[in-house]
Assembly symmetry: D2
Homo-oligomer: 268 residues x 4
């Protein structure tokens, strides 16, 4: 069934229906991260069985997705630029010895959306507001006075739930423009024998990142069409009371959108 | 008792005695992080009782320690410089609406030693070598071809042991130049009812960071005299088989120094 | 005679009286630089007698004025951060030889007001407008869509007139807060046997830069009280029809202020 | 006539024959810029007839040549990244008014070879030396201790001679790999009725920059094959005693190579 074309009115109604503004008080800056309780963390820790550490991070280097071909302008996002302040070649050349220390040091220049990352709730605006109703003018050239990502620094721990959608749906990869449905999400959870619960950190695999890495090119990935959550999933996100949502595709609504479902790229 | 003055010969002998080069094979790039086994991680997870998350991080902003007065030149380390690529004020001014998205985006320029951080094993050189005997020329202007911190990305999980030295020693803060002894460490562990074991991540509190934050000035902190581990603690570090060592003081030997005990700042 | 305290009304009236908005058409982006004609440039070239080149530039390095103590927050201005992409030590270490080229390369991170510089006409806003009446929203996070400094790149050549105020006034340096008067400027020009004419590039020496360099500290210089042009000099600037105005003090109205006399720091 | 393949021996012999090391004393750091005398500058000024200013600069922005497709890795060169510290949209949103100043401010991150630029004499090394025989280890991660471009700041003024090679040779553009000969240069000068003299700043047009700008793509330009000066032109460069050499192609030997003819890219 072809999705009907969504209007700004649909968006406005959904925003009104699903928004969590005020839910944790007028001064809250972390939104759905509040869903995770200390007890949830204790319980999550009990689930560790293999002791295997899996990094979900891309390296911050020149091989990242930025700069690849895209339908949309890059808005200044580039791959990290890493330079050295002192090197082993300096050491070898003897030029560090007057200080009595042979050491390397380095520096990075990087957009904060240059690789794997979490959005802060100050990332997306709805009309003239950001999450919880804060004025969008709280995000100036001097940074985010409200809802900066640093507000989450004593949070971001909880049960992770990995939903491998292409595997459950019998695909290799969710294609560009694919709208993930509530049914897709529930089917995947069921097949994997897991239930998404209040306070979970949900990681959705679309296969896109792996496909691009296999292809040896990020073309079409940054700001691309991408698979994403269908409009209806706002209900699923609200119902599951998840803490945060991450994905290997560039435009799945992440933390910010959970509180304020307004990331247009994700509305297919 | 006044410590005798150490010589390069002492250093060379200690390096020979305590180094772990080759211990995990000639191609290893993570050193003592190998001490932590999957079983250690499972056991560590079992210890979570309160579900309380405590951030050990300084914010990456202009209020960090870099640029403060120091006896030593800063070698190019500055506080993070955070700039915006798009802002809420742009949104408010209407200049983003031609794209149909109101969002903020940002960028950071920062030395990788500008706040709380982990050293990679490529940070310190001993003569013309870095950890495991790799040639120091593996760290060029193009970065660390060996022992970069990215090599640790599927590690860095384990049992954390917090040793509050000033509390155990009845002090408010360990003063600049204080040499922490093996006895200090053992006393603290004993008083806290904890035993440092193979594969632990040991976090040593000296009180320095808190003191500087209380004073409202980082003067004397970056590259300062600082308290540090006494030379003799090389034996303690080797014996405990810890995975990594962190501190709130700027010059405690961290990961790198565990494998290759050559951080001169820490040798008092 | 103590200057009376100026009000916003004074400022508004002066702005109305002296502004050049529209003078060179509604699409002009270079303002008083239009005062210099090709004939002026030919005539200026004829004046060269000694063939001596004098640089007015501070080096772009870590010894610049930014970061010095100031009564006003620095608003993100730091000294240039210079890093290398390839070095002579890399060359010496042999790590560049696989490419067959031994060369150095470098990078800079710098605020565009970190040393000697020219302001573009998009630097200062008067209410919601910039020079020539352009909407201030033309300067977004994506840069200045109007009145950027790049618009001047085929200008900025003309007769330079150096006015050494402290010398003419029998002082070593104009002190902080000193308000330079029309009389001061005329006296100086007369003593030096020069007349400021339409299209000139006027360089005003206050002695401040030399004083700070002699003191070995920039404290008080960036964003400091500084000497500046007294309010009445708006008339002098308008009358002389100069092309641009530069100084060794941080807050003399420069190009921007000539067209749009609204740099509040300069109104004493 | 096909050029014979050059060997390292040819290079070594030419370096020995043409190098200017020591010519202006052992402490010189500006090389052939010494060729221009004050009298030359006075004479050059006398030549100004039209008073027309022509910028030879590319704007420092994201539309520059870096990042284009190239046969050679970019070695970290990217186009300038320009970000704002304060904006007109901030002004419009009212968030600057607590300071009483409505102004914009900005920052740039850029490799120093990201657009039109002059090489310093510390750019290229011959074996373990740079110009005048300085040790290449003078260029460390901390920058160039010798022969940095800042050493030229009270020079770089003189007679400019523009040689439009494709025009003189009846071509639209010199093609990639074209080796400019002494005869080409002399023919062009003759056709234009100009003689290259001691102390001149010679600007050679190949048509490459214009061709890329016309094509709307810099592909093949940065680090590309490019036209360049044939090996034999070392004699021409030495004989003319020019001060500096610039071009619209990426690999013509520039200032550095004049003193020390070792830029391999330029040896066809």
């Amino acid at each position: 069934m072809a999705a009907r074309k969504l209007t700004r009115k649909d968006l406005a109604e959904a925003a009104e229906k699903y928004k969590n503004w005020g839910r944790w008080g007028p001064n809250d800056e972390i939104g759905t991260l509040n869903h995770t309780s200390p007890e949830d963390i204790v319980a999550a820790a009990r689930l560790v069985r293999k002791g295997k550490v899996i990094s979900l991070a891309l390296n911050f280097d020149q091989h990242g997705p930025q700069g690849a071909k895209s339908k949309y302008p890059s808005l200044g996002r580039v791959n990290p630029i890493h330079t050295m302040l002192r090197t082993g070649t300096d050491a070898y050349a003897g030029v560090l010895d007057h200080r009595g220390i042979r050491a390397a040091d380095d520096m990075v220049v990087m957009p904060l959306q240059c690789g794997t990352q979490w959005d802060g709730l100050g990332h997306i605006f709805y009309e003239n507001s950001m999450w919880n109703g804060y004025d969008c003018r709280e995000v100036t050239s001097a940074g985010a006075q409200k809802c900066g990502i640093e507000k989450t620094k004593a949070k971001m721990v909880g049960r992770g739930v990995f939903l491998d959608l292409p595997r459950a749906l019998g695909k290799k990869v969710l294609e560009d423009g694919y709208g993930i449905t509530c049914s897709d999400l529930d089917t995947t959870a069921k097949k994997q024998g897991v239930e998404v619960k209040r306070g979970d950190y949900v990681v959705v695999r679309t296969g896109q990142m792996e496909a691009k890495l296999d292809a040896g090119s990020w073309d079409g990935y940054p700001g691309g069409d991408a698979p994403g959550f269908a409009f209806e999933t706002l209900e699923w996100i609200q119902r599951t009371q998840l803490a945060a949502l991450a994905s290997d595709a560039p435009a799945i609504p992440i933390t910010g959108a959970v509180g304020s479902p307004t990331n247009p790229l994700a509305i297919k």
